[in-house]
Symmetry: C2
Subunit: 392 residues, 2 copies
């Protein structure tokens, strides 16, 4: 019960790094997230703070980082244009599916070419499927393009893509671990996912709308209510077998359709942007393990290229098929490049089950780091060109 | 790096408890903090969540609670009327000192009467010295009485009282541990404390004032800047040997004199009141160890009475001597009743050094729990009577 402030120094260092990262980004005219990632890398890999191994700082700070990603995705859902989101449902699905198929095939073929087994090749293919939602959510928000048609398409496709990635991963791991195709589990996961989306976006919206019409809450209580909702939705999706960020996104969509939306969007953007989200990105940078670069060779390089081409071409073609312009389709592809959340769980499961060795794990880790680092500047540029053209 | 959401369920439960605590308080027309403490007690002692022992939830949640108390005290410093604070410097010191001497003497005598040694009696006396700043800060803020003459006196006296408590504890523990009076260390602690206060409240204010005139920052960056400042000040006071909350308070006073004050006060009250501070009070309730009640007897009951009388009479007389009304002086005494932060560190040090046994530790713990629980309703009532009288 005594207030042991062991983690305050670590938190202070991370917050200062986040501040410096912002200044760096502004100086370089780059998105805030790039500076935060870079400062995180400097902290975690070059200077002082280590988050691997039992460290006093790790518990609390990884907890805060977790809230950070949930709040980022929640505020994205809150800020989204729901009508546009529904209109673009088909287009988002096309982009997501074509951005799943091509990277999977390319990854599979690359691994086969390098002499790996079909099992490992399938694993590598799956590792290229899911995109990282956080990076593009942060940049779209910073450029105020979340409510545009393009922003809506990107976020919609990203969430669908993430769901597909998680489902593929669950199926693959269960098949390898049990030797049988878990038809029951797969059906259950898919049914629960569909049910969750349907109930949330119909009855959920109605319920929260009524609540928002009936009660008036102060700003602190509103924030508390919002946080309870995002955590509860995150917990539900985790229990179903999806990622918590899917729940956070749906929570945002649901509350976004109520009278709570405006106040809560402001509050969450403040508390998220001024504390939790910078900590999340610095922490991600700190956890980039550059040790992975020392042991990998050509295969990692090929994997990076395949990861980029897979999404840029796959998602780009999907967007083009949905009548987006060349420039917009390219931006969609760029937005889908970064990998993070699902891939890292996949690596862990792959190692735990003895499916892959350190070589493949390192190669995928290198792919994750590079795609995450090149996305902010390139997406920033691609979106700015579109924005400037429209403003002219 | 994978987002293991093990602590999300625990956080969710605590936030729901905080929300229910608020509703309970409103229903009972009591301060918010009382409901939060009670719900925390229910969670920690009766139902599910345990924070003792290695729990997945403990690290992150105790970290968030730590930030909570720092933000509460920071926003108190931010909200204080600095001119009034300086005017009441002497009165605050009188209240603090008379509220230190009487409880110490009463505690000492009580222990001697019950047959304990002089060493233990001194320890018990010291355990009654420091007041808990959080409880009154929360209630004064909720009643919007922080900027009144009475609120300023209470906060000023509480901070001085806390400094005295920490200094006495450090001296006592060092004397017992080393067998010598650490004149060098004592002088250093006192010199550093005075230097810190002086530099912060002169050069510190000037520096931050200049900064606030020169740069304009967005709301997220302002929040980030405020958080960095409060953590840095907390770290400095911890390094000196004081409590981190002293640094947080001074940080608030300093920034309170700049152009940043207004925006930051709003931001901190939102992020604190809507997230960190409720978690702190629920967590405090969860950590109340009611096991202490099963082993103690008459001595604990006497200690509780002595703790209450010591502060109510000691501080009350001090306020009376400074020309506050009877009713106000009584409220000052009530406000000083709760003990928490310093006492709990003292118990731990006492046990570690073999100065006290489980009996004395339990008695002090019971005193901490009871004084903390009776203060919110009684202070609430005492302050409301003063407020209503003035408004008539």
């Amino acid at each position: 019960m005594a207030l042991e402030l062991t983690f305050v120094p670590a938190l202070l260092v991370i917050l200062v790094a986040a501040g410096l990262g912002r200044l760096l980004s502004k100086g370089l005219r780059q998105p805030v997230i790039l500076g935060e990632l870079l400062l995180g890398i400097i902290l975690g890999n070059l200077i002082i703070l280590s988050t691997t191994g039992p460290s006093a700082a790790e518990g609390p700070i990884s907890g805060i980082a977790e809230i950070g990603i949930l709040l980022l995705i929640f505020s994205t859902g809150l800020g989204l244009n729901f009508e546009e989101f529904k209109r673009l449902e088909v287009a988002s699905s096309i982009v997501a599916v074509s951005g799943v198929i091509l990277p999977f095939i390319l990854g599979y073929l690359a691994a086969i070419y390098f002499g790996f087994s079909h099992l490992i090749a399938t694993f590598v293919g799956i590792s290229l499927v899911a995109t990282s939602v956080g990076v593009k959510a942060s940049i779209l928000t910073e450029l105020r393009m979340l409510r545009t048609r393009l922003g809506t398409l990107i976020m919609g496709a990203a969430v669908i893509d993430d769901v597909i990635g998680v489902v593929m991963m669950s199926i693959f791991i269960t098949v390898v671990a049990t030797g049988a195709i878990p038809l029951g589990e797969i059906s259950l996961l898919i049914i629960l996912t569909i049910l969750f989306f349907l109930i949330s976006l119909t009855a959920g919206i109605k319920l929260f709308r009524k609540l928002s019409e009936k009660i008036t809450v102060g700003r602190e209580s509103l924030l508390l209510l919002g946080l309870v909702t995002v955590l509860a939705f995150g917990l539900i999706t985790t229990e179903i077998g999806l990622a918590a960020i899917i729940g956070a996104f749906i929570a945002g969509l649901v509350i976004g359709q109520t009278h709570f939306a405006r106040g809560l969007r402001e509050h969450i953007s403040l508390i998220g942007g001024g504390f939790f989200i910078p900590i999340f990105f610095v922490w991600i940078g700190m956890n980039f393990d550059f040790g992975a670069f020392t042991t990998v060779g050509t295969f990692a390089a090929v994997l990076v290229i395949v990861a980029i081409i897979g999404k840029v071409v796959g998602c780009g073609l999907g967007a083009k098929a949905s009548k987006f312009s060349d420039r917009e389709s390219f931006a969609v592809g760029i937005a889908m490049m970064p990998r993070a959340g699902v891939e890292l769980i996949l690596i862990k499961l792959g190692l735990d089950h003895g499916i892959i060795g350190a070589d493949i794990a390192s190669a995928i880790l290198v792919m994750v780091i590079i795609t995450t680092l090149i996305t902010p500047p390139s997406l920033w540029k691609a979106l700015k060109m579109i924005k400037n053209k429209k403003e002219v």
